[in-house]
């Protein structure tokens, strides 16, 4: 295309010649400028996006007191404000989250007419209640083990401690524990 088009001699334009030379000062400055602009924009973008990630959360504390141990009878107690089940058996107290591990709905406790023995991880466990999720039909045994529905894993268990100052139970929902955890109180 280039060769066929022009029969007259090519005329160099007057003024500053546009030289396609990668090592020239002009192109260096050009790329420096473009690089500075892009770096500046990227930095700004990062700053703006970072500003959207909160550094302080005004949410309910992850660890809180729930009263003295003697206020929890044998069986399961539901603490609605914390979406938490507090259970007591012959070994002590334990806490199970009421938040379904599938998509975060609150599971409902269902008391069985009579306790039954179920197989959990090869061991026989006697359960008196189950937890059912209203959203997608996940079902858990009383110890939080999922056995039916889309739930991918058991309900979380949280660490319980006795607060040294007033003897109340302290729940720490940021620390998950195993299913044999008990607080002797």
């Amino acid at each position: 295309m280039k060769n066929t088009k022009l029969s007259q001699p090519e005329i160099e334009p007057k003024g500053a010649p546009v030289v396609e030379n990668s090592s020239s000062r002009r192109s260096f400055l050009g790329r420096l400028g473009l690089g500075a602009l892009l770096t500046g924009l990227a930095g700004q973008l990062f700053a703006f996006l970072r500003a959207l990630m909160p550094n302080v959360l005004y949410e309910a504390p992850r660890s809180f007191k729930i009263g003295t141990p003697d206020s929890f009878a044998h069986g399961i107690t539901y603490l609605q404000d914390h979406r938490l089940f507090i259970g007591r058996d012959q070994h002590g107290l334990y806490a199970i989250s009421a938040i379904c591990t599938h998509l975060g709905c609150t599971v409902k406790p269902v008391n069985l007419n009579q306790p039954r023995a179920v197989q959990v991880a090869g061991k026989l466990v006697e359960i008196a209640q189950e937890f059912h999720c209203p959203c997608h039909g996940s079902k858990y045994y009383g110890d939080g083990t999922n056995y039916d529905g889309p739930a991918p894993r058991p309900l979380d268990w949280y660490r319980l401690e006795l607060s040294p100052d007033d003897g109340q139970i302290l729940v720490n929902t940021s620390e998950a524990v195993k299913h044999d955890f008990r607080l002797n109180a």
């Binding site: 959207l52 949410e59 309910a60 599938h102 998509l103 709905c105 209203p134 959203c135 997608h136 039909g137």
Partner: protein, 437 residues
């Protein structure tokens, strides 16, 4: 008499008296300048496009107008959002109608965009034809992004009433984001502005819903329309050109209206043999504008009527402590929720969460394949702009099968899932009060 003259100087572009005035009006009127001077009858026909893209655009503009009004009445704060909704429903004049219109248009826009996408697929409108400088695949991808943006717009708007319906739909929806491998927690944290749905979340969704997403939609919509012009109009025009080429080999009397078409290397002949002007083309003003206004009127009338009849629901104020039973995502995500609830796979001690399969993997793959389809479709340009082209039979059937499954799952999720996600027939009564969407 004087008044009439003034009126005519203002309105003659919409009602030209001669061919000269007709082509002038496209040049002189800002609103009309993005139309070509002449347009093919075929692309104005209802039976080819059903005008679904236009309907979508009209719905979007109704949503903008009603949205602006609602912005003056709504307060995006956790304490005041729900009471301001009550004010809109029960105190503000025509507040209930405005909100109902906004809601019905939002739902219908999801439907219209989806149908528009189906039309484009079934007519292979994403394929290039004979015209120069066509790049329809790009416009198809813009369309797919617009479809996703429409869903996002609807989803972000869902939280704003701050009632039980809103709160739990967003709980379920944002927990699906958590199922993304490795960065799921971070995505959810960024989306919510914390670990819980709270003030941060409400404000985020509000800004996205009222400013960011509509802005992006407007930009992409402009690009979409500009590309339609660059691609030589709707794909059915390419079919006309093809038929013409077979019928006659003589050069057809036609003009090029685009100097741009000449400058970048394509010679005039490509443009002149495009389609027969006398046979197929009519003046855009008033032929295109008349239909455009007719479609606008019909859309406005139908949605207003629906808004008058169908009230927007408002449930009890959001309560993070009480999960309604059943808790459902917005209806257009219920096919995903259905997948989410059905696709958890247990293999011994190893579990693949349904939230990942149904909420991330399947929709992600579907969107990726959808966007890439113009590049995967190997059929010839003869299929461009033809409803159910024979050589595309297989892919059309596959597409329709997927659409059918999506609609079926949506139907099951919407009408057949009762408390605890048990199956009920639509005519069966649930043991507890049903939750509306």
């Amino acid at each position: 008499m004087k008044l009439k003259e003034h009126w005519e100087t203002l309105t003659w572009t919409w009602n030209p008296k001669s061919l000269r005035e007709s082509s002038d009006s496209v040049v002189r009127n800002l609103l009309l300048h993005w139309f070509p001077a002449k347009v093919s009858r075929e692309s104005l026909s209802f039976r080819y496009s059903f005008w679904l893209g236009t309907i979508t655009a009209v719905l979007f503009f109704i949503l903008c107008v009603t949205g602006f009004v609602l912005m003056f009445l709504y307060v995006p704060s956790v304490e005041r959002a729900y009471p301001s909704l009550k004010d809109i429903e029960f105190v503000a004049s025509f507040g209930r109608f405005t909100r109902a219109l906004h809601r019905i248009c939002a739902h219908l826009m999801v439907v219209a965009v989806f149908l528009h996408m189906m039309r484009a697929f079934l007519t292979a409108a994403y394929k290039n034809g004979l015209g120069a400088q066509q790049n329809r695949p790009v416009n198809w991808i813009i369309g797919v992004i617009l479809l996703l943006l429409t869903l996002l717009l609807s989803f972000t708007g869902y939280l704003l009433p701050w009632d039980q319906l809103a709160y739990w739909a967003i709980t379920v929806g944002t927990n699906i984001a958590r199922a993304v491998p490795w960065i799921g927690e971070q995505i959810r944290f960024a989306l919510l502005g914390g670990n819980e749905i709270d003030q941060n979340t409400l404000l985020r969704f509000y800004v996205l819903h009222c400013f960011v997403l509509p802005g992006v939609v407007l930009l992409l919509f402009s690009w979409h329309m500009w590309r339609v012009r660059k691609d030589g109009g709707l794909a059915c025009v390419d079919k006309l050109a093809r038929d013409q080429k077979q019928k006659t080999s003589a050069t057809i009397r036609a003009k090029t209206y685009s100097l741009l078409g000449i400058t970048s290397g394509h010679n005039v002949h490509v443009q002149t043999s495009y389609i027969d002007e006398d046979e197929h083309l009519v003046e855009s003003s008033p032929n295109l504008t008349r239909r455009l206004l007719l479609v606008t009127l019909a859309t406005l009338f139908l949605t207003s009527l629906l808004a008058y009849v169908v009230r927007a629901p408002l449930e009890a104020a959001a309560n993070p402590l009480v999960t309604p039973n059943p808790a459902k995502a917005p209806w257009y995500f219920l096919w995903l929720q259905e997948l989410v609830a059905d696709t958890t796979i247990h293999m011994g001690s190893y579990t693949i969460s349904g939230a990942f399969v149904g909420g991330v993997l399947v929709p992600g793959l579907l969107v990726a394949v959808l966007a890439a389809w113009p590049y995967l479709d190997r059929t010839s340009a003869n299929a461009t702009g033809v409803w159910f082209a024979k050589e595309r039979h297989q892919q059309n059937m596959m597409f329709l099968a997927i659409v059918f499954v999506v609609i079926l799952l949506t139907f099951v999720g919407t009408f057949m899932r009762g408390p605890s996600w048990h199956l009920y027939w639509p005519w069966q009564t649930w043991p507890e009060t049903p939750t509306r969407f």
